[in-house]
Every structure is written in structure tokens, then in C-alpha cells.
């Protein structure tokens, strides 16, 4: 059985990570009750490493229901935080804690019979998640070069509270482009929109259908004020993403899709490894009682712009590759029927016209009959990255807040310019591919055999 190690860094990373463990344990407890063969429970979730430069979140975890799951050797904390400064996270803490981090990672890896993948979870806009998180990423590459690195990265939206989030994000992006195998970008605003949609759906449902008692839609701190972001619910969505992506490795199915297969099939060129996730049906992301919709609707929704976890419309851009991970009582004929139905409306790059990676896992998420996770390597990430670059340049041109970074030991202006170039080159690569979209590319001339 393969194991993965989850490394959660920073406030956001730890909150999402914990949500994931909670859901995962629930899922396996549920499956075990039904007496299904389950080797996965003890082995898959063997290890997490929790890193934060403030104590608040991690302490909260240690007092909560997950305190049994983690022990102190898996934690790394400090007190002062990173001040929303990538350089502090990456360079100051990165150097100070380098050895401690490597030790904890090694210990976690040693516990694994067969380590397949590192899941790194962090936000891009802050200091710890983005700075220290990406430092951990390069350490992972150094220490475990053969183990797949999948990063779930939370990107800030334009209206983000942290002024320097564009700096932090672009500095972090360069690291992700160079050192990650796959990145699953998630935008806060998309999560907010999805949570609102679920809320509307559940209130519009028949009378008598109630939000389940242990519903994750409401915030842990009491009632939501209208301006407050429903972070619990948002984190829940990301946690579900991780749950679904690993479902085939944990449970059986007629067409398994392992984590290393995801990297293999969805990354045609090493740097183009940003995979846009979408999860359908939405109501599986919250504990609401809504009657099961038609199966085909689930597939249609997976490609609609309202269900992507970043603000993007994949149908208007170019697909390089797409993976569909189906869970529950769905057969290969349902899958094929829907692929055939939807295919004409989806623009695929000329050399991958029928490029689908599909997986069927027989165990659905708890309380639901089926669900679908789509991962798209699509040029629709380009606008997101271009916007990020614009926000960065607005600040950088005026040298706003730059001294906070340059004052940090080891930080240089060249790191800024190099990160900006890296991002521009990436955008350019997507742009080149986009340019092929309208053109009719003929088949490459075949080898001819002398007879």
C-alpha cells in the first residue's frame, strides 16, 4: 500500500490540512463499518508534518478532536510569525529550521513502507505558507528526488487583505514552477462563490431538508457575519479535493488511478504542471441534504466555469490534458457516454485530441452515491497568472514595501526580477500553446517505408 506524507505549512495550510484529516478519518471509519476490505486505514494516513511560525493554529489543533492523530514530533512551530513576508519565511526561518525540517520529513518518510508522494499545502499570499512552504518544497526535492511532489496552493484574490500578497505569490510561484511536480491552484474567491452556491442550493431545497447537524458550512466560531469569509466551508472544499485525488490509492475500483499516474498523464512539459481542479456535485462538499441529481449533470458541471477552483473558464481556453476521477456507482459506459457528449465543446490541443485520463473508484464519498473530480491542464490559468503579474508589477514599479524584503538577510533584488521572469516565461509558454488553438494543425507527416 502506498503512503503519502502531508506537509502543511502556515495558518491556511494547517487549517486545510486538519480539515482533510478529519474528513479522511470519517471516510475510513465509515468504510470500515461496512466491513469492506480496508488495508488503507492504518497505512495511508501515517504521516503529517505540521509547520507554522506562529503557535495559534497548531495549538488549536492539539486541543481539538485531532489531538489523538498527531504527536509532538510531527510539529514544528515558532512564535513570531513571518509578518506576511516571503523572505522571512523562505530565508530566515528556512535556514534556521532547515535541519529540524529535514529531520521531521525523514522521520515521516521512514514510517512509510512505500512512500509515493508528498502533499504540500500552503497559501501563496502570506509569509510562512508561501515562504517557508516553498523552502520545504526545495528541501523535498533535495532529500527525496524520486518522490512525487504535489502542491495544493491557495492563491489570493485581487481583494486580498494582505498588501504584499502579490510579492509573496510571485516569489513563491517561481519555486513551484521549478520544484513541484504538480500544482493544484485554488483561488479564495472561487471557494467563496462555491460556498455561496451551496448555501443557495440548500436553502432553495424542499422544506424539511435541513443542514445536517455536524454541517461544515457554518463557521466554528458561531454565526457568520455577512462580511466574514466562511473559511471552514472553504477549507472543506480543498480538503475534499485531496480526499478525492487520493481515493483511488486508498480504495479499490475497476480502473485505478494512482498519484504517480496523475503526474505522468497531466504534465506534458515539465514546467506546465498547473492543474485546475473542479469538484462536482457541489453538494458533496458540504453536509446538506439535497436529492441526487442526474449523473450526466455532474459531468457537465465539471467543465463549467462556476465549478472550477480558480476563476477561469476552461472551455474558452485550450485543454492540454484532462483527468476525470469518478467515485461511486458509476460504470465505464457512463464515463464514455459523457466524454463523447462533452468532447465536441472542449477545445483540446492538436496533439492530444483524445487525451483523457480516467479513473473509477467504487467507494463514493460518505453519504453520497457518486462524485467527480476533474483536473485540467488548461491554458485558462494564463489570465490568473497575468493578473498576478500585473498586481506584482504595480507594487514593484513603485518599489512599495520592497525594503521589508531586502532588509532580510540573504534577500536580493535579483530574486524579485528572476521570479518575475520565471512567471513571464511561464505565461509565454501558455501563450504559445493558445496561439495554436485557432489554427488547423495537420497531422505530422509519417515515416515512409521503402518497399
Amino acid at each position: 500500500m502506498t503512503q503519502s506524507v502531508v506537509v502543511q505549512v502556515g495558518q491556511c495550510g494547517n487549517q486545510v490540512g486538519c480539515r482533510f484529516w478529519d474528513l479522511a478519518l470519517r471516510e475510513h471509519a465509515h468504510v470500515n463499518k461496512r466491513g469492506l476490505y480496508d488495508e488503507a486505514l492504518s497505512s495511508f494516513f501515517r504521516n503529517a508534518v505540521l509547520i507554522d511560525m506562529e503557535e495559534g493554529v497548531v495549538n488549536g489543533i492539539l486541543q481539538g478532536p485531532l489531538r489523538e492523530v498527531f504527536d509532538s514530533t510531527q510539529l514544528l512551530t515558532d512564535v513570531s510569525g513571518s509578518g506576511n513576508n516571503w523572505a522571512v519565511g523562505h530565508l530566515t526561518y528556512g535556514s534556521a529550521y532547515r535541519e529540524a525540517i529535514v529531520n521531521k520529513l525523514r522521520k515521516a518518510a521512514e514510517h512509510c513502507d512505500c512512500l509515493q508522494c508528498f502533499f504540500l499545502i500552503h497559501s501563496m499570499g502570506g509569509g510562512t505558507g508561501s515562504g517557508l512552504g516553498t523552502r520545504v518544497l526545495s528541501l523535498l526535492e533535495e532529500e527525496f528526488p524520486d518522490v512525487c511532489r504535489i502542491v495544493t496552493a491557495m492563491y489570493p484574490s485581487a481583494e486580498d487583505d494582505v498588501i504584499t500578497s502579490p510579492y509573496n505569490s510571485v516569489l513563491a510561484m517561481r519555486e513551484l514552477t521549478e520544484h513541484a511536480d504538480c500544482v493544484l491552484p485554488v483561488e479564495n474567491q472561487s471557494l467563496v462563490d462555491i460556498v455561496n452556491k451551496i448555501s443557495v442550493m440548500s436553502h432553495g431545497a424542499k422544506p424539511g431538508s435541513v443542514l445536517r447537524k455536524d454541517s461544515t458550512v457554518t463557521s466554528g466560531q458561531g454565526s457568520l457575519s455577512p462580511t466574514e469569509k466562511p473559511f471552514d466551508a472553504m477549507n472543506n472544499i480543498v480538503a475534499n479535493l485531496l480526499l478525492n485525488i487520493t481515493s483511488s490509492a486508498r480504495f479499490e475500483g475497476s480502473l485505478n488511478m494512482d498519484l504517480n499516474e496523475i503526474a505522468m498523464n497531466l504534465v506534458p512539459f515539465p514546467r506546465l504542471h498547473y492543474l485546475v481542479p473542479s469538484l462536482t456535485p457541489l453538494y458533496t462538499l458540504a453536509d446538506v441534504n439535497i436529492p441526487t441529481r442526474r449523473l450526466d449533470q455532474m459531468f457537465s458541471d465539471a467543465f463549467s466555469k462556476d465549478h472550477q477552483l480558480i476563476r477561469a473558464d476552461p472551455k474558452r481556453s485550450l485543454y492540454l490534458a484532462c483527468a476525470l476521477m469518478v467515485r461511486g456507482n458509476v460504470q465505464v459506459s457512463d464515463l464514455r457516454r459523457n466524454i463523447e457528449r462533452l468532447r465536441p465543446s472542449l477545445p483540446f490541443v492538436s496533439w492530444n485530441q483524445e487525451g483523457w485520463k480516467t479513473g473509477l473508484c467504487s467507494v463514493p464519498p460518505v453519504g453520497h452515491s457518486h462524485s467527480l473530480l476533474a483536473l485540467a491542464n488548461n491554458t485558462c490559468v494564463k489570465p490568473t497568472f497575468m493578473e498576478l503579474r500585473d498586481r506584482f508589477t504595480k507594487l514593484y514599479r513603485k518599489k512599495a514595501h520592497l525594503h521589508h524584503y531586502l532588509d532580510v538577510d540573504g534577500m536580493e533584488q535579483s530574486i524579485f526580477s528572476e521570479s518575475l521572469s520565471s512567471l513571464s516565461e511561464l505565461i509565454d509558454e501558455y501563450h504559445q500553446l493558445d496561439a495554436t488553438k485557432a489554427r488547423l494543425i495537420p497531422d505530422a507527416p509519417r515515416l515512409s517505408i521503402a518497399r
Binding site: 502506498t2 504517480n260 499516474e261 503526474a263 506534458p268 496533439w351 483524445e354 497531422d443 515515416l447
Partner: protein, 445 residues
């Protein structure tokens, strides 16, 4: 003589389990003792407690599928897999042929060869090997190719017939065309013959012939297993002198794969119906054979919707070498296996018609006929046709075309280079397959 099956990867292990299921059920039902005992002996061995264990080696790079197949087998009550006949690792091949062929295969060579050796030792006489695998993924295709090579090295005089499942054209795995091209090019040198089932064709059988509304991989595999069993179950052959042939693989290979450039075999069977309907149907050999012949020349795998317009071109017409001009499928050689009631009176002249064969083999040599008076898999009368024809030409060409387009942009190549397969290796494989395509296209000249 006994056959040792090597089940490789998810597909190989799923189809293999279904195959043994069909065979054991057919052997158990068989009203003739000799048929049953030959069948049991060929595919199973008996333990001291009287249980039947399959002569199979199960190989996968992750454990879930093997566990599932072994459990399902045990549940049948008729047969099971031997406890120690399987080899698995913890982590799959990642759909990467290079990983399977260059890294995992060699790494686990000794363990797998040992399992095969033990199984071979249990055979009084070895008829040969049937590696079963898909060509789309990483283990079946990559490790499977490596294991086939090992079989060749260790048992140079044994027959090796690979059973291959080709994926849906519209993709189960994005790099499936690369994996397929690499597999087919290598197996062409290693294997005696390649018996192919295509998921697309079998899917059509399930939906249009069997009228299944929801089709699962279990359904697909059941059809494949039925057709494959129809080929492998005991039969009386021209060489076997009135007894069930002891050399089924050898005779199949010499009947069909007489030329090293032509090794692609496909199977077709009739009737195919939902098991509930069988009891209510009557069959006649003339009707069955007439349909089967048309299925062959019109290149369709089912009785439903046969195109009766397709005819062999008249001898006088100049034949072009375009891919199956006019929809007609030219054969190099055919093996017709008839099973059930009144086999000896079945009139097979339609299959001896020179017009359906390529010109350079006389029909008397091109057609082989096997018979068994025992009804197969609940059908009172049934026929299986294994052909070496142009049936796989179009799917092969599509596969190569798509792989070539992807290669032209070098997409995903870095994933293969990482494990030791270079662009040169790819080019070699492409060249080999273009050769195969050209050879088959020429069958109509």
C-alpha cells in the same frame, strides 16, 4: 499439455480471472468426460485436497487488483488461485512504459521468473505461455513486455501467445498511444503471435448485441473471456488424430502466424447473446457460418447490423494498397473453431473462398478447421474465428498516427527519458510499426 498464463497489471489480472472462471464453468458443465478432463488439466492443477488451482502467475506493481481477483476466484467455489502464485509491489508503474520496462521489470525479474518456474514444474508437458495484458498502462505494457522477453530467454522453445487488450480510442490513459507503440513494437520481435481485443469493439458488442444499458469493465471482460475461452478450450485439430489436441498454442501459431511480418490476430465469435436468451434460441450451422463469414469480411465483431453490401473485390479489379479499400477485410489466414451439436456436418466452404484471402497463400493452407462436439459455455452450437487479417489495421494506424502527432511536439517525452527510454527508442518503435502497417495494407495487392 498445459498452458501457463501470466496475468500482468490491472487489466491482465481482471481479464485473467474472468477467463479461468469461464473455462472452469465450461469444464464443469461439459457432458463429455474427456473434454472436461483435458480442459481441467490444461488450465488447472489439482491439490491433494482435490481443489483446482489455476496454472497462473499474477503480477502487478500494486496489490489491490490481485487481491480482488484472488478473492473473486475463491468465491466461485469451483477454482481458485494458488496462495503463492502472485507477485505485487506497493506502488504502480505510473502508466509509464519506461518505468515498467527499464526499472520495475528488471528489478523484480528474479521473483517473477521463480514463480513462472514453479508453475512450469507443475506441468507434465508445457504447451506454452499466455501473457495477458493491456497495452495502455504502465505495468501490463512495460513490465509485461519485459516479462515476455524473460519467457523468451528462459524457455526459447516454448510457444508464447500474448493476449493484448487495446484501450478505447478516446482514451483511458493520455499516454496510451506511446505505451501501445512501444509495447507492440517490442512484442512483435518477442512473441509468436499477438491475439488482440479492442475495448471499443467489445463495448459495441455489449451495447448493441447484448443490449446492456450500463456497461461495466466486468461486462467487457466477460465477453473477452468468453471469446478467448472459445479459442483455448479443447478441440480436435487436423494434427491431433482424433483426440483433443495437446498442442493448442503451437497449432494455433502455425495455422495463423506463418510469416514474421504478420502476427496480429483478432477473434470473433457467434452467437453472442445475453445468457437469459440462449435457452430460447435455435441455431443452425449454415446461418451461423454465413453470418460469421460476413462479419470477417466486413470487419465487424457482431451479428447485429452486419453490412451485407461488403464483398471481396472481383479478381479482375486492380487492387490498391490503401487501407482496406471499400470496407473489405482481406485475410492472410483463418482458424475456424466449431463447437457443439452436429459439428461434423457443418459446411465451411464459404471460408475456403480464395476471394477472401490474399493471393499468395492458397486457401487450403490459409484455412484451418478445428472441431469439438461438446457444446461450449452453454451454447448448443457456437463458432469462434481467429483471423490474421486486416481487421486491426485501422485501429493500429490510428494508434500510430496519434502517437506520432504527440511525438512531433515532444509532449510527455521527458517522462520516458527520465526512466531510460530515448527519442531513438521511440523512433525505432515507430519504424517497426510503420513496417507492420505497410505489410498489412499490402494484403489486398
Amino acid at each position: 499439455m498445459s498452458v501457463v498464463t501470466v496475468q500482468l497489471g490491472q487489466c491482465g489480472n481482471q481479464v485473467g480471472q474472468q477467463l479461468f472462471d469461464v473455462i472452469s464453468s465450461d469444464a464443469q458443465d461439459g457432458q463429455r468426460k474427456t473434454y472436461s478432463s483435458v480442459s481441467w488439466e490444461r488450465f488447472f492443477r489439482q491439490t491433494s485436497q482435490g481443489d483446482f488451482e489455476a496454472r497462473a502467475v499474477l503480477v502487478d506493481m500494486e496489490p489491490k487488483v490481485i487481491n480482488h481477483s484472488m478473492n473473486r476466484a475463491a468465491k466461485s467455489g469451483r477454482w481458485r488461485y494458488a496462495e503463492a502464485s502472485h507477485f505485487s509491489q506497493k506502488q504502480g508503474s505510473g502508466n509509464n512504459w519506461a518505468n515498467g520496462y527499464r526499472v520495475l521489470g528488471p528489478r523484480h525479474r528474479d521473483a517473477v521468473e521463480e514463480l513462472v518456474r514453479r508453475e512450469v514444474e507443475h506441468c507434465d508437458a508445457l504447451a506454452g505461455f499466455i501473457p495477458m495484458m493491456s497495452v495502455a498502462g504502465g505495468t501490463g505494457s512495460g513490465v509485461g513486455t519485459f516479462v515476455t522477453q524473460c519467457l523468451r530467454d528462459v524457455y526459447p522453445s516454448s510457444f508464447v501467445l500474448n493476449h493484448l487488450t487495446w484501450p478505447y480510442g478516446t482514451g483511458e490513459v493520455i499516454v496510451q498511444n506511446y505505451n501501445s507503440v512501444l509495447t507492440l513494437a517490442h512484442l512483435y520481435q518477442l512473441s509468436d503471435a499477438l491475439l488482440v481485443h479492442e475495448n471499443d469493439a467489445v463495448h459495441r458488442i455489449c451495447s448493441q448485441q447484448l443490449n446492456l444499458k450500463q456497461i461495466s469493465f466486468g461486462d467487457i471482460n466477460r465477453v473477452i473471456a468468453h471469446q478467448l475461452a472459445g479459442v483455448l478450450q479443447p478441440a480436435l485439430t487436423p494434427d491431433s488424430c482424433g483426440a483433443y489436441s495437446g498442442n493448442p498454442l503451437g497449432e494455433l501459431v502455425s495455422a495463423l502466424a506463418c510469416h514474421p511480418e504478420y502476427k496480429l490476430l483478432s477473434a470473433c465469435s457467434i452467437p453472442q447473446m445475453a445468457s437469459a436468451s440462449i435457452a430460447f434460441s435455435t441455431f443452425s450451422w449454415p446461418a451461423l457460418l454465413k453470418h460469421l463469414r460476413q462479419m470477417l469480411i466486413a470487419n465487424t465483431k457482431m451479428e447485429e447490423g452486419i453490412d451485407w453490401q461488403v464483398r471481396p473485390p472481383p479478381a479482375s479489379a486492380s487492387r490498391t494498397s490503401s487501407l482496406t479499400a471499400g470496407g473489405f477485410n482481406a485475410s492472410l489466414a483463418n482458424l475456424l473453431i466449431l463447437r457443439g451439436k452436429d459439428v461434423y456436418s457443418a459446411e465451411t466452404g464459404g471460408f475456403e473462398d480464395p476471394a477472401i484471402y490474399t493471393s499468395w497463400l492458397p486457401p487450403a493452407e490459409a484455412l484451418s478447421l478445428w472441431k469439438s462436439p461438446v457444446p461450449f459455455d452453454k451454447y448448443e452450437k457456437s463458432a469462434t474465428l481467429v483471423s490474421n487479417s486486416q481487421a486491426l489495421l485501422r485501429p493500429l494506424d490510428d494508434m500510430v498516427r496519434k502517437a506520432w502527432n504527440m511525438f512531433a511536439s515532444r509532449a510527455y517525452i521527458h517522462q520516458y527519458v527520465k526512466f531510460g527510454i530515448s527519442e531513438e527508442d521511440f523512433l525505432d518503435s515507430f519504424t517497426s510499426l510503420e513496417q507492420v502497417i505497410s505489410s498489412y495494407a499490402q494484403l489486398q495487392c
